[in-house]
Symmetry: C2
Subunit: 399 residues, 2 copies
């Protein structure tokens, strides 16, 4: 149940209920509050509240939000979270590209770069490149490393969330058990949180598009197929950080296509980008990779559309089980294959609605990602603010 990836070994700050960090939590819903509001909400003496508000103002974590004149006489000051108090360095590493951004505490992008970065170059080369780019982006945004609340990193493989180390990641040679937080700490101060890319995408989409939705699933369909699960308002990692791995769930039609994992009929073997491209090649199309496949689909070729729709049905046949199991109210479909268009989404919906239980689908929405290519980097930012603005960590900032 440890959510303190990468900072578990940091000295434990205090979590006292009358600390500034505890009071700061009352601002996190975005509602401006007066000292009187805070007194009423906590039962603490007005002098305690005033002292804590002063601490938060001095640390610039809150700021005046204008005056409230409804009480007559001299209006009390209202305060609100200051999203510019700190910055976040957010890193989304893919197989061949990286997207890196500096954001504020409200997940707004201040500066951003997307560039080629081959994950197979290994952790030292890749993370040092991230370090250099990160410093440049901080400068572009007019921020310094000392401003950082922390660094969030999404990587394309399973991560032991408690330590921030990749665990036998199939497409990241040289990264197995590598101490990503330890290496990035040479470049940046503050906590460094690492999660797998799909979990980051789920957090990013949730933070930006569905902050009020308690049960959501984010499905990425690209070279691989994976998902990030938000249940009861929280991202779920499972016991080893392996939760959400849809790609190797068996499709229910007894398909015998062999999979790289050693089994057959896995969802990834029949509905991923490379799988769809292979199916089209078998039908005589010249689609060397899934970029070419997507182009063919977008051109409106009927056979390609049919193939993509059938892949959507396969994804939906597995998601139908997920819907029965998790009963989400929103399933977001992202990843490059989802950009193939409505036929893919239509295939997914068709299979989910025909196989899931009515109680679980009556209010279910299956939608395309709104944050698209930015989902991962926004989620890496949300990973940091979710952790770094806790009672304990705010007290450490004020410390």
């Amino acid at each position: 149940m440890d959510e303190q990836n990468a900072v578990a070994s940091a000295p434990s700050g205090n979590t006292l209920p009358n600390s500034a960090g505890a009071l700061f939590q009352l601002f996190r819903d975005g509602t401006p509050r007066t000292r009187s509001d805070l007194t009423a909400m906590t039962g603490f003496a007005r002098s305690t509240i005033s002292a804590r508000v002063e601490e938060l103002l001095n640390a610039a974590l809150i700021r005046p939000a204008g005056e409230n004149s409804s009480t007559g006489g001299r209006p009390p000051s209202t305060f609100t979270v200051n999203p510019e108090a700190r910055s976040v360095l957010a890193v989304d590493l893919g197989g061949t590209h990286a997207r890196i951004a500096v954001t504020d505490l409200a997940t707004r992008v201040l500066s951003e770069r997307q560039q080629e970065l081959d994950i197979t170059k290994g952790p030292v080369a890749v993370l040092d490149a991230v370090g250099r780019i990160g410093l440049e982006l901080l400068q572009e945004a007019g921020r310094s490393p000392e401003d950082l609340l922390g660094v969030g990193v999404g990587v394309p493989g399973p991560v032991e969330f408690a330590t921030g180390r990749p665990m036998s990641p199939p497409i990241m040679p040289g990264w197995d058990h590598f101490d990503i937080p330890g290496h990035l700490r040479r470049w940046f101060p503050g906590p460094i949180l690492v999660d797998n890319d799909v979990n980051a995408m789920a957090l990013g989409e949730h933070a930006v598009a569905y902050p009020q939705v308690a049960n959501m699933m984010f499905v990425k369909v690209a070279t691989g197929i994976g998902s990030g699960i938000i249940s009861d308002g929280r991202l779920q990692h499972g016991a080893q950080g392996a939760a959400g791995d849809l790609g190797h769930i068996a499709t229910p039609d007894g398909d015998a296509t062999p999979c790289t994992c050693g089994n057959s009929g896995c969802l990834e073997a029949v509905a991923s980008g490379p799988a769809i491209a292979a199916q089209l090649r078998e039908r005589g199309f010249d689609v060397p990779n899934h970029a070419a496949m997507l182009e063919l689909v977008r051109s409106g070729d009927l056979e390609a559309l049919r193939t993509v729709r059938q892949a959507g049905r396969q994804v939906g046949s597995v998601l139908a089980g997920c819907v029965n199991l998790l009963n989400p109210s929103v399933i977001v479909i992202g990843g490059v294959v989802s950009t193939a268009g409505e036929h893919f989404l239509a295939g997914i919906r068709e299979a989910v609605y025909s196989r899931s239980l009515p109680l679980a689908t009556q209010h279910l929405r299956i939608v395309a990602s709104q944050t698209t290519a930015r989902a991962g980097v926004l989620g890496a930012s949300a990973l940091v603010t979710g952790h770094g603005l806790s009672v304990e960590n705010v007290n450490r900032l004020i410390g």
Copy 2:
């Protein structure tokens, strides 16, 4: 995200951090604490702590736990939760039988009854019987209705957790949308919480056997097949309270057995008690129901053992997907079919370990239920204590 089933409309108590209810939470891990411990843990003035401890003592929610003489001089008193402060009425309704118990706040059974109670008699007849038996059990335990922290009820069908009403429950004619808390309130004071029976079983097994396990799944295999999911330490209901429905997930081998839900190849259609009995009848055995089927299996008949093992594999083939999706560290198998013996469990393990990803299975245990027939009633009790001992509700008790 509302966890306040049945009491959502009760007047909102206070949740102040320096209230007795907030202080009570510091005792809930079972560790005895002194006033000095509490002062150090909260930062509150010693006078505040003393006043709150006095309130909790007066309400008998805590009690002296012996003396701590390590500090020299006059030893400070240590205090601990008093599990006898209140009682819980716990009700586990099945299709044909009910198990009803009075427990203390530590889920210990004080009095208990199991008896025939046909759910198809409808909610008024069944719940009035529960009322009468509950009063008798309270008397047996030397408790009064006014002692109750609350009433917990497990029912054999889907429940809208926010209201405690069954939602189109297939085997509960007349119960659809019935206000169970509203009716039981004629019999008992205090909050009344209703959940489906498998969720209750998951809570019961977790509370008694795996309190430290954050990611657990409880699977019931009986007339139907369902599960209760504990992720990140919390029972998951999903958006409509429908989470955990394993029975209508399609098995991955393309089986065409028709299911009562209108689809085919559902897990329940191939591996439930009635499904196994039907398979044995097809092979010429005289097994009119699954009780006879279990007897045949326990007699050691090889064909029956093979059939049960194959049903186990089917359950395992669906659980393999659940393991990839949720990454639990413990899967508990309960329900009457699980009492068929090791062959069933062996079939489940075989399929899960062959189909799930290594990262997700390396520390996974698949085990038989320890609480067996009592899982549901213990979970109904845990449902009440989990809710009724919150900050707000403890303050309401004291208020």
